[in-house]
Amino acid sequence: MSSPAALEIDDVSKRFGTRWAVARLTYTLPAGRSLLLTGHNGSGKTTLLRMIATATFPTAGKISVFGRETKAHRSALRHEVALISHASHLYEDLSAAANLTLLAEFLGIDDAKQTARALLERVGLTARATSPVRQFSAGMRKRLSIARLLMKAPKLALFDEPFGELDPAGIEQMEALLRELQAGGTTIVLATHLVEQGLSLTQERLHLVDGRLVTP
């Protein structure tokens, strides 16, 4: 038996207000492959990623992740899918450590504090562990988001412009992280303007124009 496709998008449309952010999109990502998502600002990349992450659902059509439809299996899929987006999902008034510990506790990890500390060390934020996120720079927030993603150890990791707001060293570290995740068997969907970097990291490509699939 062949394993189900990592991602199956079946005639998906999504409306925002009176505008169609994604329109009649059909695409299949085979298992074991990673996807590069390209397109201009407002082409529907973020909306598509949010739909795959079960943060929102298609107005029409279906999305399946590892053979399970997102709307019906949202609670199971949320354990396996993680999203790094423009919105960091962090509590501004809590410290970096508190934000991570909270997630660890929700994930049911036994030694939440210890796990959080280890991950902070891994992303290089130990020195600022007790400062509230409000005082963090954009790059530090991104590191903290990465720690959140690593804690979840997802089967499918979604990245929305991960290279934005990073310095050259940060971009290199991010690339290394993406390679490492893939080597560990995680499927990656990467939305970025940096087509060069993106192409070197992924095997498939999907180009969106006004929410529609266009062959690049």
Partner: protein, 229 residues
């Protein structure tokens, strides 16, 4: 990885809200002084007639709490709207019903704490007698705070994302709090003043019924509100 029970997840949400409250103590202090000045304004509006003030003290206390609640409820979801933290919770994943319970009890405990701060001030301003039935008074204050919070959290989640949110919350919330206000004010009155006809138990029952009804309705409806279908 184990799945969390609903109660445990709700408890974690509640702790998280307490932690944020503690980290932003300045905001809480502002809330306290806002309610204090509301109480003071009522006594100015009524004039120096101490008998009238004493008779109306329960009403002033609950109005001050009600006004403060619109601020605390709005704040409760402003924190969640920043960085789309609420989406982060839902995707974590946390059962939305646990988020509802955690936030309701978080906000209720905040209002209850606020009412405890306001009590000595009502003694000073309106000369009420707290020693008559202190335990019942605490029960009334808690049930009332819970009753404001249960529908309030649902409406706050709605209005946090709507346009004109500062107007929307009281516009939606105040009408349905009419029975709660009646029950809480009456019950408070009978803990502060002689209760000749034994009316307190029936008002307590009404308060409990209101809380239970809105906790269950909110429990069912809240997931629909926060999940973007």
């Amino acid at each position: 990885m184990k799945r969390l029970s609903l109660a445990r997840a709700a408890w974690l949400v509640l702790q998280k809200d307490w932690q944020i409250e503690w980290r932003t103590r300045a905001r809480m202090t502002a809330l306290i002084f806002f309610s204090l000045s509301t109480l003071l304004l009522f006594s100015f509006a009524m004039g120096p007639d101490i008998n009238a003030l004493r008779a109306h003290a329960p009403g002033y206390l609950w109005l001050a709490l009600l006004f403060a609640s619109t601020l605390s409820l709005g704040e409760s979801f402003r924190v969640e709207a920043e960085n789309q933290a609420l989406t982060g919770l839902v995707l974590a994943p946390v059962d939305p019903r646990a988020i509802f319970l955690g936030k309701v009890f978080g906000n209720a405990s905040l209002l209850f704490g606020l009412s405890l701060v306001l009590l000595p001030v009502t003694v000073a301003l309106y000369d009420v007698d707290l020693s008559r039935a202190p335990l019942q008074l605490l029960v009334v204050l808690f049930l009332g705070s819970l009753g404001i919070s249960a529908p309030g959290i649902v409406y706050s989640a709605i209005s946090a994302n709507a346009r004109a949110r500062d107007v929307m919350l009281p516009l939606l919330l105040f009408p349905i709090l009419v029975p709660l206000l009646l029950a809480a004010v009456s019950a408070t009155r009978f803990t502060l003043m002689p209760d000749a006809q034994e009316q307190l138990p029936s008002w307590l029952k009404l308060l409990t019924a209101f809380d239970l009804i809105y906790l269950s309705v909110g429990f069912l409806v809240f997931p629909k509100v926060v999940e973007e279908d």
